[in-house]
């Protein structure tokens, strides 16, 4: 079946090349049939890559180790669900996923916009197929997912145990959907610049895709943070890692664009800014993909031994140079149609929010690429750590949360001092009340955290006030019960109220971030059964050790050969709070020349975190058992010497019994973090709001709203 996969890739490359030619020929020569054919090339690409993806999935699910990528990243002991997701755990498979998602989203966008902006869409089709062709060419010439080895190995190396986690199955598709969706507004911006149609139409047409990119990228980032927190043994959700940052940067510029596009739609302003933001977002999405695959920066998320740096650098150079040329050469057409009426207006608040978001992106960009910059300037690679990022990002995040409260309560065009006073009174009172309560209870120990709580209180009160006022206005018109009025209000103004919900979610998320990072208690200690440690207000007692043997019995369902763990009793003030069961899984190693027992246990050892999560705090635990104890090492050595591979399980069973009978002290990492849960809840609220804003209005509602506005205009006509 690998041959079929390779045929698909070759056919896909031909289709991309043809599609680029047909789209450009069609638009330049005024031959719509060619443009139409070019658009259909995107649909064909989606079909071909779906077949290629299916071939690879079948190989993974069927344990076809003649495929090199299957042998490298899967095994018979890898649980079937993780085998299905292992497709995108390798460089080659993830390239295929990228290209496939790009073709699907592009097809959807071009299908929905098939009757609009024909000229712009033709250029956009060429750009999207150019991206598709680039990724397909990478798979043909650099990293093919369909390379094979004969004879096929009897067993594969298995999926990296760190990736055997439910959210990791959907994290890459979400992130890649976000990245690939970023290329759609990018392609239409390039199309609008090439076609010199720089009004708000291209923005209006692609706004939904920019929103979808923001949503998917955000969900992907949050899932990655959740994986880091619940799977990696350090207990954090964000480490300012290069690859994490790479996904955050396009999200930040995308967020800025979603705000500033409204100003262009309404006022014909910020055209240069908007087109630059979209081009930057698309380029940053490609740069994010480049960072994972080039091997130029160290990251636990990057593909090791990656060799795709040069082709990506060429692509990024073309994107940057092309973007700069297009924007500067069309500068005359990108002049604003209006000026800012007042600094006290929603436009001004959005502008400030844009400056902060782009400032954040710049800081993160500088910190992420600093190793490269320092090496280029001084010859020595130096990197910056989390404290450097925190120094700059925390104040900017404070301003951002504050602005997320200011935006909703201020009107478009201009706000009079009297109205501003009325709108700001309640949010300001909420912020001051929160500040007073926090200063009285927590003092001034953590000023940034306290300032963040006050800013979040301001934003939440502002959003709540908007909903209350909106419902009141609705009820004054329709005399509906409150729930119905609320529903009608949101249905009729999805973008506005969906956006407010997003603001509330972000404020809640930052409350969780500020609390958990400022008021966290961490203890690292060695304990034997019966001993206790104190973490914050909690006592944690190591009750007894636990073990499981054989991949089928692994309590964490990750297919580990042996798992050593502990039962921990968590109490507060003598009262039982929770029982935690952290463990560490030991996995088989594909390395040759190991003894029969070491081959079963010598792979990566992965911590399986156990936590008691609550709305006020999480009690988090991880264990690192001591497998190097002499009594245990003796069993492994004897097993290696005397047992054939098929009987290694006997020694592992004996090892487990010995560990239970006489457990050596184990190392524990114990954390009590307040309000972590609110990070995930805030994320869910924000993305729920995003869905509300993204959801299309029923056409009947749109028609009614349009007719109502038309009537108002007609009144003006009658008076004129």
């Amino acid at each position: 079946m690998a041959v079929l996969g390779r045929i698909c890739l070759l056919l896909a490359l031909v289709v991309c090349a043809y599609g680029v030619f047909a789209s450009l020929y069609g638009v330049r020569r005024g031959r719509p049939e060619f443009s139409h054919s070019g658009r259909r090339a995107v649909y064909a690409l989606a079909g071909i890559l779906t077949v290629a993806m299916a071939v690879l999935e079948v190989a993974f699910l069927g344990n076809d180790f003649s495929f090199d990528t299957v042998a490298k990243t899967s095994s018979r002991t890898t649980p079937v669900l993780y085998r299905a997701a292992a497709v995108w755990s390798s460089q080659e498979g993830s390239l295929l996923l990228w290209a496939w998602l790009l073709s699907l989203w592009s097809s959807l966008a071009l299908f929905l916009l098939r009757r609009r902006m024909r000229e712009v869409a033709s250029y956009a089709t060429a750009v999207l197929l150019g991206f598709g062709g680039f990724f397909v060419a990478l798979m043909i010439f650099y990293a093919t997912p369909f390379s094979t080895t004969k004879p096929a190995p009897a067993e594969g190396a298995g999926l990296d145990p760190l990736l055997r986690f439910p959210t990791m199955m959907i994290h890459p598709p979400m992130l890649y959907s976000g990245y690939t969706l970023c290329t759609i507004p990018f392609a239409f911006a390039v199309g609008a610049l090439l076609a010199r149609r720089l009004d708000a139409e291209w923005i209006r047409a692609t706004r939904r895709f920019a929103f979808a990119a923001w949503l998917f990228l955000g969900v992907g980032i949050l899932l990655g943070a959740r994986w880091s927190y619940a799977e990696l043994g350090w207990g954090g959700y964000w480490g300012w890692d290069a690859v994490e940052n790479a996904s955050l940067m396009p999200w930040l510029t995308g967020t800025a664009f979603l705000h500033s596009l409204m100003i262009q739609e309404k006022r014909g302003m910020l055209k240069v800014w908007n087109v630059s933001l979209v081009l930057a977002t698309g380029t940053l999405a490609i740069m994010g993909t480049f960072l994972v695959r080039s091997g130029i920066l160290n990251s636990i998320h990057a593909f090791g031994g990656a060799t795709l740096g040069v082709p990506f650098l060429v692509l990024i150079s073309i994107l940057i140079a092309g973007s700069v040329y297009l924007v500067t050469s069309r500068a005359g057409m990108l002049r604003s149609e209006h000026r800012l009426d007042s600094l006290v207006s929603r436009e001004a608040a959005f502008l400030a929010n844009n400056i902060v978001l782009v400032g954040l992106c710049f800081v993160i960009f500088w910190g992420t690429y600093f190793p490269l910059i320092s090496e280029a300037l001084t010859g020595t690679e130096a990197s910056v750590g989390p404290p450097w990022f925190d120094r700059y990002t925390v104040p900017l995040a404070l301003v951002l949360v504050l602005l997320s409260g200011i935006g909703p309560v201020i009107s478009w065009r201009r706000a009079t001092p009297a109205n501003a006073r009325r709108s700001f009174a309640l949010p300001l009172a909420a912020a001051l009340l929160a500040l007073a309560v926090l200063l009285a209870t927590a003092g001034t120990r953590k000023p940034f955290a306290i300032a963040m709580f006050a800013c979040a209180a301001f934003a939440l009160a502002a959003v709540a006030q908007e909903f209350v006022r909106g419902v009141r206005a609705r009820r004054a018109l329709a005399a509906e019960p409150v729930p119905l009025a609320l529903l009608a209000l949101v249905r009729r103004n999805r973008r506005r109220y969906g956006g407010y919900v997003v603001h509330a979610g972000i404020a809640v998320l930052f409350i969780g971030v500020a609390a958990s990072s400022s008021f966290q208690h961490v203890v690292e200690t060695g304990l034997s059964p019966g001993q206790s440690a104190r973490v914050g207000a909690y006592d944690v007692r190591y009750v007894r050790p636990t073990t499981t043997i054989s991949p089928a019995n692994d309590a964490a369902h990750t297919g580990s050969t042996l798992s050593l763990g502990a039962v921990l009793d968590v109490s507060r003030g003598g009262r039982h709070v929770a029982t935690l069961l952290p463990s560490q899984g030991y996995y088989s190693s594909p390395e040759a020349g190991l003894g029969s027992v070491t081959a079963q246990l010598g792979g990566q050892a992965v911590s399986h975190v156990s936590m008691n999560a609550g709305i006020t705090r999480d009690v988090w635990s991880a264990i690192a058992p001591d497998l190097s104890a002499p009594s245990l090492q003796r069993i492994i050595a004897v097993g290696n010497r005397t047992l054939p591979p098929q009987d290694a399980a006997v020694a592992i069973g004996y090892l487990a019994r010995a560990y239970l009978a006489n457990p050596p002290p184990a190392q524990f990492r114990l954390i009590v973090s307040p309000l972590v849960m609110w990070i995930w809840i805030g994320g869910l609220i924000a993305f729920g709001g995003g869905l509300i804003a993204l959801w299309p209005s029923p056409s009947a509602l749109r028609r009614r709203a349009r007719a109502a506005a038309r009537t108002r205009v007609a009144q003006g006509l009658a008076r004129a």
Binding site: V3, L4, I7, L11, V15, G19, A22, G30, R31, P32, E33, S37, R40, Y43, A44, G47, I48, V51, R116, M117, R118, D199, A200, E201, R204, E265, K266, V409, I410, S411, W412, R413, R414, A415, T416, N419, R422, R469, G470, R472, A473, A476, L477, A478, N493, R496, A705, R706, A708, A709, R710, T711, R712, V713, A714, Q715, G716, L717, A718, A720
Partner: protein, 110 residues
């Protein structure tokens, strides 16, 4: 297996040629020259309608005073009329400022 792969590949190739080639076999007339301009104006009109509704909602939720709203609303309506006039010149179906829609004359925007 080899035969099956050849068959699948041929079917795929035929499907791709059919999908991509179909528009070339039945060429369509180019859209009228003013089509793009009309689409732009329609987008502007929708944006302006949305702006009118937003200003109305800002007024009803207390963010705009009656005086400010009246001034902004008048300016917006005048801009919308200008767009509608331009649309009418383009021959848009949906460009007549007032149609017999039976809608109430007061918009229920909230």
């Amino acid at each position: 297996m080899a035969v099956l792969i050849v068959i699948i590949a041929l079917v795929l190739l035929a499907a791709v040629i059919a999908v991509i080639g179909a528009p070339l076999l039945r060429p369509r007339a180019a859209p009228p020259a003013h089509d793009a301009e009309r689409q732009e104006l329609e987008a502007e009109r929708e944006a302006k309608y949305r702006e009118i509704r937003d200003a109305e909602l800002d007024f009803r939720t207390g963010k705009l005073s009656r005086q400010d709203h009246a001034a902004i609303d008048a300016a917006l309506r005048s801009e919308a009329l200008d767009i509608l006039n331009r649309l009418q010149r383009c021959g848009s179906e949906d460009s007549k400022p007032e149609e017999a829609t039976g809608e109430r004359s007061t918009p229920r925007d909230a």
